[in-house]
């Protein structure tokens, strides 16, 4: 630990730095295998697209093997849900990426792209493709050029041994060490309360 941090001045009272605006919100999608859709992973705050992608690689890209990441500014999302009202303003023709939410509360998953002159038109187009409303809960559309993406050859998931950051990296050793202190029966009982990791 640095000397500065070890002997930190115990300052109290008002802060010197003035209040700041929050950074921009981003929705992150991860792609687990080439050719597969991008799945909703979560949100993060970043100053710009580059920072969002760097942060997303560390925060959402190391959960499971992952080959691609999309970072979408929250403000670029229009949808059929109340939280993302869609603009009807007609502009030039643009490519929109469609995302489908299968059930209430589920994460959105990327689907096809549509061409449209406004977000509202893109939603109508998407609804023409997804005609059965019982098959999904909500739809999102995002202008494709606003999606920041990792490159095709980018290495995101680290292939080095990462067992040190997984519960299963300890299970065998822990069980072996316990046998010095406990019999099989009570050990099995104790392990029942363990939380199994699974994404």
């Amino acid at each position: 630990m640095s000397k500065l941090r070890e002997k930190v001045d115990l300052v109290t009272g008002d802060l010197e730095s003035p209040p700041e605006e929050d950074l921009k919100g981003y929705v992150i999608f991860t792609q687990l295998k080439m050719g597969q859709p991008h799945l909703y992973a979560g949100y993060l705050d970043a100053a710009d697209d580059d920072m969002a992608l760097i942060f997303a690689r560390e925060h959402y890209g190391q959960d499971q093997e992952c080959v691609g990441i999309w970072a979408v500014p929250v403000e670029a999302v229009s949808g059929t849900d109340a939280a993302h009202p869609a603009s009807h303003d007609i502009g030039g023709v643009e490519m929109y990426q469609v995302f489908i939410q299968a059930r209430r509360g589920a994460g959105h998953v990327s689907a096809e792209t549509v061409q449209a002159r406004s977000p509202a038109e893109a939603i109508e187009d998407a609804q023409r493709i997804h005609t059965d409303p019982s098959k999904y809960y909500s739809l999102w559309v995002v202008p494709q050029h606003l999606i920041a993406s990792t490159g095709p050859g980018d290495v995101i998931w680290r292939y080095s041994d990462q067992s040190y950051r997984l519960a299963r990296g300890y299970s065998k050793e822990v069980r072996e060490k316990w046998t010095k202190f406990r019999d099989e029966g009570s050990l099995n009982e104790y392990e029942k309360d363990d939380l199994k990791e699974a994404f």
Partner: protein
């Protein structure tokens, strides 16, 4: 580590709400449906969930401070990698929980500032010192163990964004707990010096672990809004009992002794005696134990614990020092950091 988000959440339920909307809201909750961010919710619910998520987020990032101190002093490369990953996880939990809170209506900057200036709280147990490596082992075994127990039940709650965050966080908590257990087992199968170090750390952390679940419940806890609205699903006392039922026998089997201790103002143990209440009650099937010192709990919550001032001062230092970085990335034009 993680926050028990159930401490200090008092929901004002006097506010006047449309009875029809309120009834529909309660129906959804009773039917086990999840409430989503754009659903109607009582103002008191929004306020309570924000407080809970914000308190939890604060706890994640303050909890990383005592552990971060030990990264450079970890006893092996594998332990160093694990501790670095663990601290990174906790800060990540904080980032996700601040996001949940932001969607409920408070900016992240305002939350960080309120934390530093003491307007909001974080979990009490992070106001205690971690003077030895064995403290890191005990924190990961006991406190992360307690956090898992608590967060498993919070994942059965009703607020969708918080519930999904809990599920995700718990996967990482499983690693924190297992590696903590591995460290404790290593120490307790080691030399006398290692075992003594583990015992001393255990004496420091047993009390804060019992306090982790919050003070004893009011008799009508199940009827009050936090449980009626499934913001939490199990009472503090029930959670505490689950915790001791798992950890008392484990500690005893490992050869650890459970003490009732007194501490000085720095959080160090000044005297200890065996907790003679420790026994398995054959009739109830539950372990009995001496309750922690709740006066101490409230003293520490009010800001008078061993490390309150230091933790907040360190957060303040990071916030003030990081200002030029934030400005540089926001404006795209950086200037050099101020001379130290």
């Amino acid at each position: 580590m993680s926050g028990s988000a159930n401490v200090g959440v008092h929901v004002d339920h006097e506010s006047k709400e449309d009875p029809a909307l309120l009834a529909e809201f309660q129906r959804k909750i009773d039917a086990g449906e999840l409430i989503e961010v754009d659903d109607w919710m009582p103002a008191a619910y929004r306020k309570g969930m924000l407080m809970m998520a914000e308190h939890h987020a604060n706890s994640e990032i303050v909890g990383a401070l005592p552990e971060g101190e030990w990264i450079t002093r970890a006893p092996s490369l594998r332990r160093k990698l694990a501790l670095t990953a663990k601290v990174q996880d906790e800060v990540g939990h904080g980032q996700m929980l601040y996001r949940v809170s932001q969607d409920l209506g408070k900016s992240r900057d305002a939350m960080l500032r309120d934390l530093i200036t003491g307007k909001t709280k974080y979990h009490n147990c992070f106001n205690y010192p971690a003077p030895q490596w064995a403290d890191i082992a005990m924190i990961q075994w006991l406190i992360d163990g307690a956090a898992i127990m608590n967060q498993k039940t919070l994942a059965d709650g009703a607020y969708g964004p918080y519930v999904r965050t809990m599920r995700r966080i718990n996967m990482e908590e499983a690693f924190h707990f297992k590696s903590g257990e591995d460290m404790v087992l290593t120490l307790m199968s080691g030399t006398k010096r290692q075992r003594d170090m583990a015992q001393e750390a255990f004496d420091r952390w047993w009390g804060p672990s019992l306090m982790f679940f919050g003070p004893p419940d009011k008799p009508n806890a199940r009827q009050l809004p936090p449980m009626r609205w499934r913001m939490k699903t199990v009472t503090n006392d029930d959670l505490r009992q689950r915790f001791v039922d798992r950890f008392i026998p484990a500690a005893l089997d490992l050869g650890l002794k459970i003490h009732v201790v007194t501490k000085d103002e720095h959080g160090f143990v000044t005297s200890k005696k065996p907790d003679d209440k420790i026994a398995l009650n054959k009739d109830t099937g539950h372990w009995e134990f001496t309750s922690p010192d709740w006066d101490e709990f409230f003293r520490v919550i009010r800001g008078n614990g061993p490390c309150n001032a230091k933790r907040l001062a360190l957060r303040r230092l990071s916030y003030e020092q990081g200002r030029w970085v934030r400005q540089a990335i926001l404006n795209g034009s950086g200037s050099l950091p101020p001379a130290a």
